[in-house]
Subunit: 212 residues, 2 copies
């Protein structure tokens, strides 16, 4: 092989290596900088039929008078909640909304591990769904260490945070101005996971009875 | 110049070009993927002296009985709020906390453009700071188109979102379990900016009087 050919081959090799590194860097960057999910929902939500979210197979035969096939803030919230496949940690001040209760019960039936932390006063008011969830066999604890356990957040599958101003009531969904923020940004989700664990342990009945 | 030299020069040129592109791509990636600010604060907050935040020059001469030089959730919240240099848009259900009111008044004195949107019922209750802000010359509007304007968010300088479960009251800060999320992630901030503009225009007194 002549000297010139050797130089040509080495040159081409360098170019090929450099391009491969560029491609690898790009692919690595894509994986590393995967765009996080960041969504915001505002309320009050339009009222629409939600049957298709609970029973997709029979939804076509729903003849209720509400508008069908309409995507609303509330249907989006339910969709994210119902996406849970392994766990749902719920920390909510006031929980009386029947559709949200139905969603949590449906997830429980599907085998999703659910933990609900409520406020001690608001869990006992008329219409609260906390008792319904407890009777269905869902793990429920009530916070007793503060004036109000005023959080309204959920962590889905340990990766998706749903939080905001919205209590889980009908008035909040249909009548108030409210916001819900949905994110899988780890820097935001992780502190909520840790806070849930802390509050869950803090309100363990075994621990509380020991103190008496 | 011999054929071999030409090949060498072209080869080196290709390598130099490729390395430059790699460097440019890295620099562009650094700018594009600037790490957003994402913080979460939990309450109740420890009680500590906040004088250094309001008047840094005279803080050393504060002899109040509260602990000094302690960073708390509330001091962090105030610090982010007081970082406003051009505008503060505030949308809050219940606003009776004197320290938060002092922070807003201080920003107003410094020339920061402030707009406050409150709830029509909670703006009128005893202890509400909405009247104090209005008397100081701050633009205040009250929402009249919903059962409750239940938001609790602020947008600082059109770039930083402060939102969560925490009402701007003393009980929320010192006694309740609450959360505050602070982010400059555009996907999260922008919808809140748009919602504020929408609600601000919707509750323009000129528009409301025209409807009467």
């Amino acid at each position: 092989m002549s000297q010139m050919w050797r130089v040509k081959v080495v040159g081409l090799g360098v170019v090929a290596l450099s391009l491969s590194l560029e491609l690898l860097g790009w692919l690595f960057g894509r994986v590393r900088h995967r765009r996080p999910l960041n969504k915001v929902l505002f309320f009050p939500s339009k009222v629409a039929c939600l049957e298709h979210l609970f029973s997709p197979k029979t939804a076509r035969s729903c003849f209720c008078p509400l508008p069908h096939g309409v995507e609303t803030s509330f249907s989006r919230l339910l969709r994210h909640l119902l996406s849970a496949s392994s766990s749902l940690d719920l920390c909510v001040f006031s929980f009386s909304n029947m559709d949200l209760s139905r969603a949590v019960l449906l997830l429980h039936q599907k085998g999703v591990t659910i933990r609900v932390l409520g406020d001690k006063d608001y869990s006992a008011i008329t219409g609260s769904q906390i008792g319904v969830l407890r009777k269905a066999g869902i793990c429920v604890r009530c916070d007793s260490g503060s004036v109000h356990m005023h959080h309204k957040f959920a962590v889905v599958d340990g990766r998706l945070l749903i939080t905001g101003s919205l209590n889980w009531t009908l008035q909040a969904v249909q009548s108030n101005r409210e916001n819900i923020l949905i994110t899988d940004e780890a820097e935001l989700v992780q502190p909520f996971i840790e806070e849930f664990h802390r509050l869950w342990a803090l309100n363990d009945p075994a621990r509380l009875y020991k103190q008496l």
